[in-house]
Amino acid sequence: MTTLTTSSSPGVGDALDARRPRRRGPRASGSWLAALPLLAFVALAFGLPAVAMVDGAFTVNGSYGLGNLDQSVHGAYRTALLGSLKLAATTAGIGSVLGLLLAQAVVTSRGRALREAVLTASGVLANFGGVPLAFAFVATLGNAGVLTTRLGLDRHGWSLYSFWGLTLTYLYFLVPLMVLTVAPALDGLRPQWREAALNSGAGAWQYWRHVGIPVLLPTLLGGFVLLFGSAFAAYATAAAMVGSSIPLVTLQIADALSGNVLIGQENVALALSLDMVLVAALVMAVHLPLQRRSARWLA
């Protein structure tokens, strides 16, 4: 959304820069001075923990080694990593499709009020992760939940505290996130493109196949990895809802950090954190270029 706002006046200042090269000397150093507090803060509050994490992840019994990282991809930790990846891929896949459908339904509707309502609600619900979400679902579909008891769902083998229960819960904030991501892109599909395609004899399917989907693809992929990253990193919802009954990497890290399993697993927790950072970095490496690409097409 932020990238799209910028298209309204693509760098009034940029044009000025080109026209009058200014006295760069004092200005430039002054500007670095203004950014110095921020950079110093990030170095302290972000850089230091990051260094500590990497350092700890590679420290085995006081000397450097790969033991922790090795341990973090085997046994129960491996199960947890795979569990998180599976959950993230499943929820991101379903969330992307449903989000796209919902966004298209809203964008093509005539009613301005409906559109505003859905987009505003999406803004709220996309941030409605965490503890309140977990409790809303426990109250609805948990063991003593309103729907579970009234409809007798437990007799049919339903349990919220399972992979699919967690999936259903995660979708509650992932679908709105996808709606927010993809709605501006759907708006950007110019009616003229469609008219041009239809006038040239293309059917609706051909329009989507050759125009709609290719233009939307970067946004869709970017949205998918964004959802994947959110689901992969989520902790609060799962922790408040299922405890550690489902193997997830975030729950494993939390357990190891608080010494719940074995004393002395802190460094394995750091190695697991490093694994997570690698996955998240991969996600961002895919997402950011795609975001830029979709912004270019739809500007």
Partner: protein
């Protein structure tokens, strides 16, 4: 926004909207029923009336609000000068550095960040016990007001705050504004405070709201470092009174909703008053109109 929709496509829209409405409303309504229809008691509003007298509620809420406001203030104080400097100097290198610095926190999930922070905090007793730095380590972990949480939250909010300020700054020609103000005799601080900041009101509000919402709902870092702001309290309370914690969860959602609606209303009035519409959707339709006319 006239769009050519083949008549046959209509029904699927109703199905999608209906299913979505059901999925998103049912948990909220069910949670409401859960709080007012207690087994063996029938209809009761007890869950809501006993919230304020619940053990630790006020302390936790005040702690969260305090953390939230401090985070917003610190995040803006750090980001605003940097973002302004990029705009005013036009330095490409500074912009690139800030862009990277403010994206990095997205790469480290909160659980991983807290693992790192926990490790650093352990250095205190392990290595620094005999140095004056130790006092600092103790001070930032004061359970009354854990500064270490503010540090973590500012890091986590940084990407959103910076982007929102950046977008706001791009929509205004800051340099011309500042030069005009300076030519008219305003001092630097006055030019910033009374000329630039009012133009950034929407972006500032947006950034503040995002940061505040993030802190008020934050659970991961606080719980794993052993502090008890609002979200951690809810989970703790759920052990003894499930109805109460669901009621508080619902209230916190309503609160967020109201905050956002207020913010949207502010956007709207601003959009109506100024020709430059800050909402992307509006820009787009204007542009489409222009192109259609051309």
């Amino acid at each position: 926004m006239a769009r050519l929709i083949p008549a046959g496509v209509r029904p699927w829209r109703g199905v999608v909207l209906g299913a979505a409405g059901l999925y998103f409303l049912v948990p909220l309504l069910a949670a409401l029923v859960f709080t007012v229809d207690v087994p063996n008691q029938g209809f009761t509003l007890d869950s809501y009336t006993q919230i304020f007298s619940a053990d630790g509620f006020t302390t936790a809420l005040l702690l969260s609000l305090g953390l939230g406001l401090t985070t917003v203030a610190l995040a803006l104080l750090l980001t605003l000068p940097a973002a302004l400097a990029v705009r005013l100097s036009g330095s490409g290198r500074l912009r690139a550095v800030l862009e990277v610095v403010c994206t990095l926190p997205l790469v480290v999930p909160p659980v991983a960040l807290v693992a790192g922070i926990g490790t650093v905090l352990k250095w205190g007793p392990d290595h620094l016990a005999s140095t004056p730095l130790y006092e600092t380590f103790v001070a930032v972990q004061d359970p009354e007001f854990p500064i270490v949480l503010v540090l973590a939250y500012v890091v986590m909010a940084l990407p959103f705050v910076y982007r929102s300020l950046e977008a706001g700054l791009r929509a205004v020609d800051v340099r011309t504004l500042v030069e005009a103000a300076r030519d008219l005799g305003a001092s630097w601080p006055r030019a910033i405070v009374s000329v630039v900041l009012p133009n950034l009101r929407t972006a500032l509000l947006n950034a503040s709201f995002l940061a505040l919402a993030l802190v008020l709902g934050e659970f991961t870092v606080a719980q794993l470092l052993g502090f008890q702001p609002f979200a951690v309290w809810i989970v703790q309370a759920s052990g003894s009174n499930a109805q109460l914690s669901v009621a508080v969860s619902l209230l916190s959602l309503v609160l967020t909703w109201v905050l956002l609606l207020v913010l949207t209303a502010v956007f709207r009035t601003r959009a109506a008053r100024s020709a430059r519409a800050p909402r992307p959707a509006k820009n787009r339709s204007d542009k489409n109109k222009k192109e259609a006319g051309a």
